[in-house]
């Protein structure tokens, strides 16, 4: 529950009953709480904050942590960074409180209970925290109530108490929160995106929007990051570029590589077609690029006789990157065996490039299998077959009658009963596969679903694949 600033002036406050509020202000407008929309807006804000530092953590429901270690000098100092942050937030029409401190705990306390815009000097947060109420420690309600009951109104009183009785009385969590605020214990923040040290950014004096400008800055920022990767003998498998628009939206684009790489021209070429889809709106102010899945890549000499033994990096890896980024990674694959005798489960799609997981046994070439396997077996009509185990003599498929000349089988393939609920398992769930050849030489893989037995419901015949 929340109230607007105008409502607060009229004496309303969160937690008040709606009827009480209506009594105070008869013309009150109420709106239902929308936690999902709030979370979404916060996520959007977190994305936007990446322009200041790559390490941003959402603090639900209404806050966020920005880790600015090592980036404030880009703005000329912490105060300048905060001023810029304030201007940009204000121009987006947001109400906010800012505070800056050594620890997330202290910054939270100062932002929620201190003066807006406090900047705690390094190591000096304890002095600033002392006049704040104990609730500034992000305590659970019971501990906070207990502390209030004992008449401790200031954090300073809490800090001065001996540690052992404090922990015994108010719980270990209270002690931990206190330590985190004072910098005696570390606190792990859940950053929205994994922090990567591999990031580069370009900011522009004037917002850009022309497609050729966007293509050029893509190339430039990629080259900047790749130069760093090259200097440290690293390569990355995934690159994410974000265009920060003047209206505060960040538009991300990602490309993946089959092998870790750092060839700026190649990566920029993969990015360019996707950059064209970005709507610059009123202009792009800033562009950032991050590299993920960074791993060491040794430098490679160009072969003089490149045609003799082409390396994977020369041809195949760029090809797969081009295809996977254009068509989508799920449309480029290499078939890998799966230990399953059920035909539709015997093949899995593995990454087109990279170490093949050689866990499953390869397919047995001695059991004939069709070249084409239908995803859905197709029903056969007018099948004549002798009972109980003979292959069909004749069948109709897609309007044509096929007279079987030769046949092999049956090969009985049962279902994988361990994949079903225990109640659904039945002996009738078997398929008898036959390899049959018709008079013209067409070779078919047909099966009968279930055994004979019930004269009222004879088993059905299906075509599952073609041998050619």
């Amino acid at each position: 529950m929340a109230v607007s600033s105008d409502a607060a002036c009229l004496g309303l406050h969160p937690g008040q009953k709606a009827t009480d509020a209506m009594a105070l202000v008869p013309e009150l407008t109420t709106a239902d709480a929308e936690p999902e929309a709030d979370a979404q807006a916060l996520a959007g804000l977190v994305d936007w904050c990446v322009r200041f530092s790559p390490a941003v953590a959402a603090d639900a429901p209404d806050g966020l942590f920005l880790d600015i270690s090592g980036v404030s000098h880009l703005w000329g100092g912490e105060a300048e960074l905060m001023a810029d942050f304030r201007d940009r937030l204000a121009s987006n029409g947001l109400a906010f409180h800012l505070a800056l401190a050594d620890t997330p705990g202290a910054a939270w306390a100062l932002a929620h209970f201190g003066r807006d815009g406090t900047i705690a000097p390094p190591g000096g947060q304890a002095e600033l925290l002392k006049p704040l109420p104990p609730a500034a420690l992000r305590l659970d309600p019971e501990a906070a109530a207990q502390i209030a009951r004992l008449g401790l109104r200031r954090l300073g009183q809490l800090i001065d108490l001996p540690r052992a009785p404090l922990g015994r009385r108010f719980g270990q969590a209270t002690l931990e929160r206190l330590d985190q605020a004072l910098g005696r214990a570390t606190e792990a923040l859940r950053f929205r995106r994994p922090p990567t040290p591999w990031t580069a950014r370009l900011a522009f004096l004037e917002p850009i929007s022309a497609p050729e400008d966007m293509a050029r800055v893509t190339t430039d920022v990629t080259a900047r990051l790749c130069a760093r990767l090259e200097a440290e003998n690293q390569g990355a498998r995934r690159f994410e570029i974000a265009f920060h628009r003047a209206d505060g939206k960040a538009l991300p684009i990602a490309v993946g590589l089959a092998l870790p790489g750092r060839d700026a021209r190649r990566i920029a070429r993969l990015l360019h077609p996707k950059v064209e889809t970005v709507d610059p709106g009123f202009g792009i102010e800033c562009v950032t690029i991050c590299a993920y899945a960074v791993e060491p890549v040794s430098g490679r000499q160009i072969h003089i006789e490149a045609g003799l033994a082409p390396a994977v990096e020369d041809g195949l890896a760029p090809l797969i990157d081009r295809l996977a980024n254009r068509l989508g990674p799920e449309r480029v694959w290499r078939a890998a065996p799966v230990d399953s005798h059920v035909p539709e489960r015997a093949v899995s799609r593995a990454a087109a490039l990279g170490a093949a997981a050689a866990e499953a046994r390869p397919w047995d070439p001695e059991t004939p299998r069709p070249v084409r396997l239908f995803r859905q077996p197709e029903p056969l009509e007018a099948v004549t077959a002798l009972l109980p185990d003979d292959p069909p003599r004749q069948f109709r498929w897609r309007g044509r009658t096929h007279v079987v000349r030769r046949a092999e089988g049956p090969e009985r393939i049962g279902e994988e009963w361990w994949r079903r609920e225990i109640g659904e398992v039945s002996v009738a769930h078997v398929r008898d596969y036959y390899r049959v050849e018709d008079a013209e030489g067409g070779r078919f893989w047909v099966f009968r679903a279930g055994p004979y037995g019930d004269p009222a419901a004879p088993p059905k015949w299906w075509l599952h694949g073609l041998f050619g």
Partner: protein, 256 residues
């Protein structure tokens, strides 16, 4: 007659001077290789494989024949198979002796994309064979494929396949394919005294061949569905020579 031969040799020299010679892939039987220019399937070109009747839609025999024909080629490098429907089944290829672990499968969204992917793959170092299932290749697309083939000497196999339920499109007037094959399954013959099916057989029409002659044969994949399937140099064996229209015409001319 000797003049005729000299002119032929001259034409062949002019044709081969245009492009780097990427070699040939011999079928390993004299009767077939003699019909093909350079005694084998020309590499660094693209070939067209079609099926008749229902095969134009499901395209099982053409796919199996292409895999068998290109199996020795796939040993030398990577192969790429561009699909429109993902019903190609790797265990079946493994049984024919085509190593699926060397095969990258790509599922394209439309015809133009399939051709573009083929072209891209053909021009890539380290790719030795590219298969593509497309409905038709017009002259422009055919030339582009040919240029891509010549870049690295890789070989393309266009398997003509109609989408399900679609009507046959009118075939393009000309084609720059090096060869055009029409493939259908043929009844197999198990060895005497054995039950079941014999080794897979195909009725293969070489309908068109640049610098060579057409012919019709029945070929058998002897080693299919055995552990030796991938190890033989020539996976297809000639079973019967069904016709040599030109030879017959020549004989007829000689008799007259």
């Amino acid at each position: 007659m000797s003049d005729f031969r000299a002119i032929r040799a001259k034409i062949a020299a002019m044709e081969s001077a245009e492009r780097a010679h990427a070699g040939v892939l011999a079928f390993g039987c004299a009767a077939m290789d003699a019909r093909l220019p350079g005694c084998g399937l020309p590499l660094g070109r693209w070939h067209e494989i079609t099926g008749a009747g229902l095969e134009a839609e499901v395209s099982a025999a053409p796919a199996a024949f292409a895999a068998l024909m290109a199996a020795p080629l796939a040993q030398r490098g990577e192969a790429v198979w561009v699909l429109r429907r993902d019903d190609l089944w790797a265990p079946g290829l493994a049984g024919l002796g085509f190593r699926p672990e060397k095969l990258i499968q790509v599922c394209a969204r439309d015809e133009a994309e399939a051709l573009a992917v083929m072209e891209d793959a053909l021009a890539t170092v380290g790719v030795s064979a590219v298969f593509g299932e497309v409905e038709a290749v017009d002259l422009t697309a055919g030339r582009r494929l040919q240029l891509a083939c010549e870049k690295r000497g890789s070989t393309g196999f266009v398997i003509k396949r109609r989408p399900y339920g679609g009507t046959a499109r009118k075939a393009a007037a000309g084609s720059v394919a090096a060869t055009r094959w029409r493939v259908a399954s043929a009844p197999s013959e198990p060895p005497a005294g054995e039950f079941g099916l014999g080794a897979p057989r195909f009725r293969v029409d070489l309908e068109r061949c640049r610098g060579g002659r057409s012919g019709t044969w029945i070929l058998q994949a002897d080693q299919a569905y055995s552990w030796e399937a991938g190890d033989v140099a020539h996976p297809l064996r000639l079973v019967a020579d069904l016709g040599d229209h030109e030879l017959a015409a020549e004989k007829f001319a000689a008799a007259a």
